[in-house]
Symmetry: C2
Subunit: 121 residues, 2 copies
DNA sequence: GTTGAACTTGACACTGATGTCAGGTCTTAC
DNA sequence: GTAAGACCTGACATCAGTGTCAAGTTCAAC
């Protein structure tokens, strides 16, 4: 599929898709004319990339871990090095802390919403 | 307490604390010489502010909701307007989505770590 | 007082993913 | 072959919180 369709199907802008390619996160074939041609599986990959960005990982680290991910169709093409495992573990811990903070913030919002919505007594 | 101690106790830089004040998130008394003087409760407040930043809220919205928060010592000083409640509800929903994405990303990392740590068989 | 640490304001830089614009090329349907 | 839409590269802008530096002031202890 071409970039427009991929953008539409993933909700990610064409600009970002090109950026992902530049960062080595997303490969594409090219038509004879030089336009990008993506395989079907690119859809899932883009969604994963977006999730990892949302989790606060930088493109460089995402580029390192992507080959170690199990794709929908099978085994990972690479196994993480001990060094990478260490970094990913740190990221996982950071995500855990982030989730705790998010839960706190959610509770704060919830209480404010609740207080404002409760009938005055 | 002065800004250095507050920074030390919260782990937030002096630069950020001044920024918070500029954005109306954090008040301070001043010494006769013009230096900032914070009450004890500033510590908790700064931590809350950091959490809300981590949750993706912008300073303007944080400034709006802070007066509606129940402090450690009692009732909120303001009740959220319906408009603010709507916005906060949207933020809460966004946080919920973010937590789901974080859980997904965490699982991705976990599997990679797990695969790399598992003895070859 | 004097000294050194801590504080003040103001300005400028950075980060890193994304938006946007310009000028040109490719694709597809007629 | 031509028109319209989709795509290409490259460049510059943006956002918002934070880092950092400079030049000057205040505080606390001696």
């Amino acid at each position: 599929m071409r970039i427009g369709e991929l953008a539409r199907r993933t909700g990610v802008s064409q600009r970002s898709l090109r950026y992902y390619e530049q960062q080595g996160l997303l490969a594409s074939d090219r038509t004879p004319g030089g336009q990008r041609d993506y395989p079907e599986r690119a859809v899932d990959r883009v969604i994963r990339i977006q999730e990892l960005f949302a989790a606060g990982l930088h493109s460089k680290k995402i580029a390192q871990l992507l080959p170690c991910m199990r794709d929908a169709d099978g085994a990972p093409s690479e196994i993480a090095t001990p060094r990478l495992v260490g970094e990913l573990t740190a990221e996982r811990d950071r995500i855990d802390r982030m989730m705790t903070e998010l839960a706190n913030s959610r509770a704060v919002l919830d209480e404010i919403i609740d207080t404002a919505s409760r009938p005055v007594h």
